[in-house]
């Protein structure tokens, strides 16, 4: 029994090592330095409107199965935390400027356009995404907007 078990163990070890012996090293990852002017962190950044007024902060991103950002959650409005609402806007309405020293994210909508959007409350329910109206190429993609 002992000899049989040992033979089995040695075969097992050899079998495991065989593919490793075939590829000498695991695939190498490389490290690339990305300057902040090229790509910036966005969570918690201030969002401004066209008149350079701060309207809220970007607090979360909704990403689809292909890894493309669909929409951003913006914490909007309020005073000292009272009256803050989480509104979801379509990704196409946002403009990013990593090279800008203020790192502001521009929302191409006015507060009046998003102010009465339904609030984003639960991660498990459909997110009410506000889609910029005048662009004829924008297709509403299974999202609810407005009331």
């Amino acid at each position: 029994m002992g000899r049989f078990a040992t033979a089995l163990a040695i075969t097992g070890i050899l079998a495991l090592n065989a593919p490793l012996a075939a590829n000498a090293a695991p695939p190498a990852t490389t490290v690339q330095q990305v300057p902040p002017e090229a790509a910036e962190p966005i969570l918690g950044r201030s969002v401004i409107d066209a008149e350079d007024k701060s309207i809220g902060r970007l607090i979360d991103v909704l990403v689809d199965a292909d890894g493309h950002p669909e929409a951003a959650v913006i914490d909007f409005g309020g005073f000292m935390g009272v009256g803050n609402r989480k509104v979801v806007v379509h990704w196409s309405a946002l403009r990013f400027h990593p090279g800008d020293p203020k790192h502001a994210i521009l929302l191409e909508m006015t507060p009046d356009q998003i102010k009465d959007a339904p609030e984003y409350l639960s991660r498990d329910k459909p997110a009410p995404v506000v889609i910029p109206a005048p662009n004829p190429a924008a297709e509403p993609q299974g999202a609810q907007s407005g009331k």
Binding site: F79, M80, P111
Partner: protein, 405 residues
């Protein structure tokens, strides 16, 4: 200065207590819903923010009763309050300087415990200074200075947080604790410990007697219903303003916060005096009646600026509650040594009501709209009013009743 009625040191002690209330209210303003906004500016995720806020709330909940018992047993209430204030300073500085997960968790836990100690200490000092028969006026003054402090702090911190930096709010909070400490020590010895509020050890028979007192149970239910109705009104009104007002929303919400505070500042001393002369019941009825009126006004008023008028009614209920809570606690524990424990138990009712209020109102607003949520809150307020009307007895101590002073 010649004393007129009150001896000279008492007047200075009273002024000092006014200032304590003023600076303390300033210091508490930053620790409300603003913490979530502050942490967002430091790139925190929503999950982490939710975690630390929940932990802070649980800490406060769990510390209520032990803190009340602690303040009851402490012989020097000012010392206990000072230690708690130092914890608030530490919490504010941690938030301002080290906004990372562990320091912020420690800061919110510290603040949770400290706030459970400070409120009963101030009430106990007030009781020690004024005595059970004149407590109403003293509490009215407390509420006046606290609301002025709150209103001013909201204005300054709101502007500073927006134009300077969000850190400013917590640096200012830490700075304001210094004059609070100085005012606390300026109150002077001797006025802060009476047999009413000092228990040498936990007296279980006394506690059991207090818990089975029918007036206590009824008032606990009234307190719980008050906050069940009231707590969600300001956040919902703020949401409604944000939804209706666009650019001016911050300004209108600031008005929604400050107008009731101004009314509390105006009305509280009158409330305190009237509770002494006309009795507690008329005052309770007034304050609890304002709740359904507030809810209905918020539901029916259109636009954004008119909501400020609805918020003005909330000033009446706020003024009444601010005075009534410690006043009734004193009435209910007359002759015993459990004033602060009673306050703590009633505060638990506050917590329970407020917690359920925001959750349920949020769910109703989500499902049926903000108007429906306001009407639901108004209905709860009406229920509270009915409980006060039918079940709450008068608790004002009469001169004939023996007191322990």
């Amino acid at each position: 200065m010649t004393p007129t009625g009150w001896p000279q040191p008492e007047r200075r002690a009273n002024r000092a207590l006014d200032l304590v209330n003023f600076f303390l209210a300033d210091a508490q303003t930053g620790f409300g819903p603003f913490v979530a906004v502050y942490l967002t500016t430091h790139h925190w995720t929503q999950v982490d923010i939710g975690f630390v806020l929940t932990l802070g709330t649980i800490t406060s909940l769990v510390s209520q009763l032990p803190a009340g018992a602690l303040v009851d047993a402490a012989r020097n209430k000012r010392l206990v309050a000072s230690w708690a204030l130092c914890c608030v300073v530490a919490a504010a500085l941690l938030l301002a300087v080290l906004p990372n997960l562990l320091p912020v968790t420690i800061a919110l836990v510290l603040h949770g415990v400290a706030s459970c100690i400070i409120t009963p200490s101030i009430a106990a000092i007030s009781l020690g200074m004024a005595g059970p028969l004149r407590l109403g006026e003293r509490l009215g003054r407390n509420a006046r200075f606290a609301s002025i402090g709150n209103g001013l702090a909201a204005a300054v911190m709101g502007a500073g947080g927006a134009y300077l930096s969000p850190r400013f709010v917590f640096l200012l909070t830490a700075a304001l604790c210094v004059p609070a400490l100085m005012a606390l020590w300026a109150i002077g010895p001797g006025t802060h410990a009476t047999s009413q509020t000092t228990a040498r050890m936990l007296d279980w028979t006394g506690v059991r007697r207090m818990l089975t007192d029918r007036r206590m149970l009824v008032f606990w239910v009234c307190v719980m219903l008050f906050h069940l109705s009231n707590a969600a009104m300001l956040p919902l009104a703020g949401s409604a303003v944000t939804m209706r007002a666009g650019h001016l929303a911050s300004l209108i919400i600031a008005a929604c916060i400050m107008v009731p505070q101004a009314l509390v500042a105006l009305l509280s001393p009158w409330v305190g005096r009237t509770a002494g002369t006309a009795g507690r019941r008329p005052i309770l009825l007034l304050g609890w009646a304002a709740l359904p009126i507030h809810g209905v006004m918020l539901a029916l008023l259109p636009g954004a600026w008119p909501l400020v008028a609805g918020q003005a009614v909330s000033g009446v209920s706020g003024a009444v509650f601010g005075v009534a809570l410690p006043l009734l606690a004193s009435d209910l524990t007359l002759g015993t040594a459990h004033f602060n424990l009673c306050l703590a138990i009633l505060s638990l009712g506050m917590f329970a009501g407020a917690g359920i209020s925001t959750t349920v109102a949020g769910a109703v607003a989500d499902a049926a709209g903000i108007k429906a949520a306001f009407l639901m809150l108004a209905a709860v307020g009406a229920l509270g009013f009915l409980v006060v009307w039918w079940l709450m007895p008068e608790t004002r101590p009469t001169i004939e009743r023996p007191t322990d002073r």
